[in-house]
Symmetry: C2
Subunit: 277 residues, 2 copies
């Protein structure tokens, strides 16, 4: 390790999501690893992934990985729970680049956080259906109990801007009711949009339930991954664009949403015909 | 005219939508034109279209038209308001098959129905943004006033099955408030999912406002189009599958939803890799 050139260490990290949600992960990476350059891709032409099948998501992810390879990224972060759940295990065998997702870091954080051994997961239909959070958590400790609940309306409600609205609260009460009855003490926000509903979810679940946002642990994992591969950037790049943003559709809409999430302003977003990759 | 062979007249009509919503149009065609065979395609891998850009939707529609051409359809119905609004005008210049959409029939019905000259349109962001309903209605009568309102949460709420729920009613009240204030007497249900919310919307708007479902007039238009081209089927086909269903993802989920909308049971749905067309 450590045999990489300075140019290789200075290459960007690729981060992708089905749309804008992965920006909550990118934001955390920027905070924890300010020396790293990022290339972000949001698949806004085909969003959402959460209601689609494994075969379809795998095909989409392969195209995105090929696109990121053309940007000469040194590592890839799958900043989407659905894509991590359905595609990561296959993709990591197909490529040489180091790649991580958000599910395993989230599972690890939750397993360490729970005191009563009862963990809830809220996510898309696809992520819950994959059973992957349960598999990882019980791989760490088979006695932990995991209760999953799909919340398909959360993404459209967030995208409609209703993050502090009684309609969203009513929907959240219905979704969360069965997890409350299971007496969980830890709840994984298993979709990258959900941290934007954190205060509303906290209001319903109460302060005694710990909310786990996998983004934090994912950024830690990325640091470890880059260190292990001798690829950690030593200093912020000069003369190169630090953060690049690509989408498959709707660059201006993406830019506006991104500017409400990220600490800095995005000036340009480029549109990519992702089906060609 | 009339010079087509019996085999050509017996060819199916292609009907497509971004997903399941177009089945409300297919249902109406089956009712009015029971002699016709249909090939239905739902782009469930890339649904929804309503939040995407014109360039992306045009690319998707071109692929779907190429797929339907391989099924040797004799005509095409764009059973999706967004695709009709963004792609029909371009596509009809590119192909030789007769093709119609749902926007023009809906506009014509509303123009004929309104007494006070004030017409509302509810639809996706994309359809409202296109301004096409306004353009067609004012093309018929420039003195008619048209008020559009995008209702982006209606599709996910319908897909979540909340067609008779107070949450959907609350969202609908917000969306419809400004149209009520405009004192419209006619309201176009400008997205193929919305007829499934008809009773809820009627409850809010009251009986004095006429609700226009473009599906009815679209089926009439299809009959005219087939007649003009000498392509109307004379008798229901024998020994051939009458209705075929294709989707780009999630065949089983589609089948279940379709069986809740259509008067007959769908037995099989085939998955197509639409990006290859």
């Amino acid at each position: 390790m450590g045999q990489h050139t300075s140019a290789e260490r200075g290459a960007p990290v690729g981060v992708f999501d089905s749309g804008v949600g992965g920006l909550t992960v990118a934001r955390e990476i920027m905070r924890q690893l300010p020396e790293e350059r990022l290339v972000y891709f949001g698949d806004t032409a085909r969003v959402p992934y959460g209601s689609k099948s494994q075969g379809t998501i795998l095909r989409f992810v392969r195209q995105i990985v090929r696109f990121l390879e053309t940007k000469e990224v040194k590592a890839i972060v799958v900043a989407c729970n659905t894509a991590s759940a359905y595609a990561l295990e296959t993709i990591e065998k197909e490529i040489r680049l180091p790649i991580i997702g958000v599910v395993k870091p989230g599972a690890r954080t939750a397993a360490a956080a729970s005191r009563n051994g009862r963990i809830g997961v809220i996510a898309t239909d696809a992520t819950i259906g994959s059973g992957l959070y349960t598999q990882f958590i019980q791989g760490i400790n088979p006695r932990l109990q995991v209760f999953g609940k799909a919340c398909p309306l959360f993404v459209p409600l967030v995208e409609e801007g209703l993050t502090h609205d009684f309609v969203t609260e009513e929907i959240a009460r219905r979704y969360l009711k069965e997890l409350q009855e299971k007496e969980i003490d830890t709840l994984i926000l298993g979709c990258t949009h959900y941290p934007l509903l954190r205060s509303l979810i906290r209001g319903i679940m109460g302060d005694e339930v710990q909310l786990v946002n996998p983004a934090y642990e994912t950024a830690l994992d990325l640091r470890r991954l880059l260190e292990e591969n001798g690829l950690l950037s030593e200093h912020a790049p000069e003369g190169l664009e630090k953060y690049q943003y690509y989408v498959s559709d709707g660059a201006e809409k993406f830019r506006l949403f991104a500017n409400s999430i990220l600490p800095h302003e995005i000036r340009t977003t480029q549109v990519v015909d992702i089906e060609k990759y």
